[in-house]
């Protein structure tokens, strides 16, 4: 059958100029002419933009008029436009798998701009190879997969909350998974937001309540993703549910338990500056509004006796016998919104964070200045509780630092597995300039007599109302100093000596402050590497998750059905996170709006004559999608189509070469390899 198709192949080749993107380097006419004589080629054209309506129409016309049965497009990466052209083929009555693309932009003109001649030659080879493969392409029928009209949102910060609310509002069943006891994320820890100086929780808390009340949203707190299987439309996710030891339904949040609990520990929500009990609620507005037992510190769990909370709880909500378990949830789409973690400033020991009590970070500052914080809103030095008169802010701590990793940054042994958070990052964290301006402003607002200095490299205030806010800060008396200090020294009275160059006056300033606030950058969240691996998501060089396309698919990933919202993609402020959450929710809703989804048919075809049932394929298949079964002709391998993802490991391993991969057959690849090397 294959032979027949090959001999009757009628191929149209379309070479794209892509404006000057290709034509500026590659001699498109020469490429077009070289393709003309290739076997099976019926027509060759070049277009200014093949993907444009005009370009597409000329292909559709040719398919109809010249009865083409194969199409080769030499243009950009198939990762960009394969879908576009497959759709075109389908509309024109051709099987979409009869398309082959030669990537003469990303792999040719854009990388060989300095050698047009060689680039043109290479383009010819790539086209020849595509034509050779096209000749052997076979129509494939696409299996249909089911779509489960539900979505899982991973991460309950402001991005996850927003995405869940959009989806819930559309009537789509949504699971909101959060590893902490409460949703809210970092935004819940902020005192105020820039540039409007809204109280952060005042605007977030109503949204959290809305989530709790929305009947389409189910909050899975204290939960983490364990395993993800399946594909777009049909994901099976194993979620590890950790015990709260308090019945969420019964707990009314009265707080009697915490009042009587005998164990006091450092409060991580307050950045370890205050204390909480072993049974606690992270913050008063927490959702779910239920207490939680910290088993690492609870006296009952560590010493086997106590149970005071159980005794005082009138509702009988305490359940010491809760255990961790996994739950499998099926959804059609996933939104990842796991946010960020703050840069660990101990990674730059010259600034003394962790060594000098009065050097704090921007997130510490939020808790210190917050009325609900450990000092009830009084800005007190952690060292001695005195209110600072002179406060310095240092920008870009952990950001915009591209120095090499062999400088010993992570040699703080106590950081352990989180050492990655202490490695400085090359990118700009985007929000710190405005956070610092806001915090400097807040100091002056509370203590008009204070002296406030901001050390910066560049002030970046690109955002609605940001520049105006910066201007206002200056007019209030904040001193912005261009010049980054190299180190902080502690004086005997716990004050901090900062030497810097003030570039604008040309002086070297040697100033002493009562408190220094380090504007810590935003780095990928703890555990993101593992999560990305579970979902097969790519990460960009900066460590955050990679978007589907930097311009056009910012809320999507390389994997169909998995979308991004918030800082997990890259540092961004609250409005941007919320906006992206909307985009992700819309994309997920589109997926859920379909009844079925077509799945690429790339699986194996097994030649039962050749198969000896050796089981190698079964042993190597990562998905259990091929199995050896006993037939009347002996043991033979059998493909399980729904489970197969089409990687081709079985085909390339089969000990008797009994397996052929659809759409990536040996003969197709061999023909391609031959043609790509043909000397003309």
């Amino acid at each position: 059958m294959q032979q027949g198709i090959e001999s009757s192949a009628r191929i149209g080749v379309y070479v794209c100029h892509c404006g000057l993107n290709i034509a500026g380097v590659v001699d498109v006419e020469a490429v077009r002419e070289s393709a003309r004589s290739l076997e099976g080629v019926v027509v060759v054209r070049d277009n200014r933009y093949t993907c444009s309506e005009v370009g597409q129409k000329s292909i559709a016309d040719d398919i109809r008029e010249l009865m083409l049965n194969r199409v080769v497009i030499a243009s950009c990466s198939p990762r960009l436009h394969e879908k576009t052209f497959r759709t075109l083929l389908e509309k024109s009555g051709l099987n979409p798998h009869l398309l082959e693309m030669a990537n003469i932009r990303e792999h040719c003109s854009w990388v060989h701009y300095d050698d047009p001649e060689a680039a043109t030659e290479k383009a010819k080879h790539l086209v020849r190879s595509a034509v050779a493969r096209a000749r052997l392409l076979q129509p494939l029928s696409r299996a249909k997969g089911r779509v489960i009209p539900k979505v899982m949102v991973v991460g309950g910060g402001v991005a996850g909350i927003s995405a869940a609310l959009y989806l819930g509002g559309m009537g789509i069943k949504t699971y909101l998974v959060e590893r902490e006891p409460s949703i809210g994320g970092h935004m819940a820890m902020l005192d105020k937001t820039f540039p409007t100086l809204d109280c952060s929780l005042c605007i977030l808390s109503p949204k959290m309540v809305e989530v709790a009340e929305c009947e389409n949203i189910e909050i899975l707190s204290l939960s983490e993703i364990e395993k993800v299987e399946g594909q777009v439309g049909d994901f099976r996710i194993q979620v590890r549910r950790k015990p709260r030891y308090v019945n969420e339904e019964k707990c009314v949040g009265c707080g009697d338990c915490a009042a009587k609990c005998p164990v006091k520990v450092e409060d991580e929500f307050n950045r370890n500056m205050g204390t909480r009990k072993a049974i606690y609620i992270p913050f008063p507005q927490a959702i779910p509004p239920a207490y939680v037992i910290d088993e690492k510190n609870c006296r009952y769990f560590t010493q086997g006796k106590c149970k005071v909370c159980e005794k005082v709880c009138e509702r009988g909500a305490i359940e010491y016998d809760q255990t961790s378990y996994t739950e499998t949830i099926e959804v059609g789409a996933i939104i990842v919104a796991t946010g960020f973690q703050p840069y660990d400033a101990r990674g730059l020991p010259q600034y003394g964070y962790g060594r000098f009590a009065n050097v704090i970070t921007s997130l510490d500052f939020e808790r210190l200045i917050c009325a609900d914080g450990p000092t009830y809103g009084k800005l007190k030095r952690p060292g001695d509780g005195k209110v600072p008169k002179r406060v310095a802010f240092i920008q870009c701590v952990g950001s915009r630092n591209a120095s090499s990793g062999d400088r010993g940054y992570e040699s703080c042994p106590e950081m352990g597995p989180r050492a990655e958070a202490a490695e400085p990052k090359a990118y700009c964290s985007r929000v710190c300039c405005m956070i610092t301006a806001k915090q400097a402003f807040m100091v002056l607002e509370k203590y008009p007599d204070a002296e406030v200095y901001v050390y910066y490299i560049d002030m970046r205030t690109a955002g609605k109302g940001f520049e105006e806010f910066y201007r206002r800060g200056r007019s209030e008396g904040i001193v912005f100093l261009r010049g980054k200090p190299g180190e902080i020294e502690e004086t005997d009275d716990g004050c901090l000596r900062v030497v810097s160059e003030d570039m604008d006056s040309g002086c070297i300033l040697d100033l002493t402050f009562d408190m220094v606030v380090l504007a810590q950058g935003l780095v990928p969240p703890h555990g993101l590497v593992e999560l990305a691996q579970k979902m097969n998501l790519s990460r960009s060089e900066d460590g955050f998750l990679m978007e589907g396309h930097p311009k056009l698919r910012p809320a999507e990933t390389g994997i169909d059905g998995i979308y991004l919202a918030g800082c997990v993609q890259f540092p961004k402020d609250i409005p941007d996170s919320v906006a992206q959450a909307g985009a992700a929710a819309a994309a997920a809703a589109v997926t859920c709006s379909k009844d079925t989804i077509e799945i690429d048919p790339l699986g194996p075809v097994i030649d039962a004559e050749l198969c000896i049932g050796c089981k190698l394929c079964e042993m190597l298949c990562p998905y259990g999608a091929i199995r050896v079964e006993l037939t009347d002709k002996g043991p033979k391998a059998k493909s399980i189509e729904v489970a197969c993802k089409g990687c081709g490991v079985c085909g390339a391993s089969c000990s008797t070469k009994a397996i052929t991969m659809k759409h990536y057959t040996d003969s197709q690849l061999t023909a391609q390899a031959k043609a790509i090397l043909e000397v003309v």
């Binding site: 090499s404 190299g486 030497v499 070297i508």
Partner: protein
């Protein structure tokens, strides 16, 4: 193109845009173009604290702008104490002490060499070491039970000839300061 200063020393009218590439090609100068003028280097520099003439950030700025002559003929490039404090802290990995070395290397080829460095180089070319090990010194070493050290090293002299430094030293490389 040379950088020329007008009568008013603070006004620069001509810049050599290629100078930064020249420095970047020199061993140690590779990363100079990454500098974003944050001033971390100068803020921790003990020399800059004591001597206003030396400001590493400013020197790099002048190189990037292209004030070739002004930089190479200066005495300030010789003031780096190579303590590497800035090198450790530079967020853009500019490798400032190495950049200073690159500038000094270029300056030497252009005929500017600080007399102290010239003297050192000549001593090494002649003795193989910074200090001549005369008989007296060796006697003293023997007294202490330490091994004698041979005087002079023809191989070192050969190295100076091989690399062309001997020529540079003899061929009128004048002093700066």
């Amino acid at each position: 193109m040379e950088s020329v200063q007008s009568k008013d020393a603070s006004v620069v009218t001509i810049l050599d845009p290629k100078f930064k590439y020249e420095v970047a090609r020199e061993p140690g100068g590779e990363n100079i173009k990454y500098c974003f003028q944050c001033g971390t280097c100068t803020s921790g520099c003990k020399v800059a604290e004591l001597d206003r003439k030396y400001n590493p950030r400013k020197i790099i700025r002048m190189v990037i702008l292209g004030m070739r002559e002004r930089v190479l003929a200066s005495d300030f490039i010789w003031l780096c104490a190579t303590c590497y404090t800035c090198h450790e802290r530079c967020p853009q990995d500019v490798r400032i002490p190495e950049v200073m070395n690159a500038l000094k290397n270029i300056a030497v080829r252009e005929g500017y060499i600080h007399p102290a460095f010239r003297a050192q180089a000549e001593l090494i070319a002649g003795n193989g070491r910074l200090y001549e090990v005369d008989e007296l010194a060796n006697e003293r070493r023997t007294d202490w039970g330490l091994r004698e050290i041979p005087q002079g090293s023809p191989e070192v002299a050969e190295i100076f000839g091989m690399t062309g430094l001997a020529d540079l030293l003899s061929g009128g490389a004048g002093g700066t300061s």
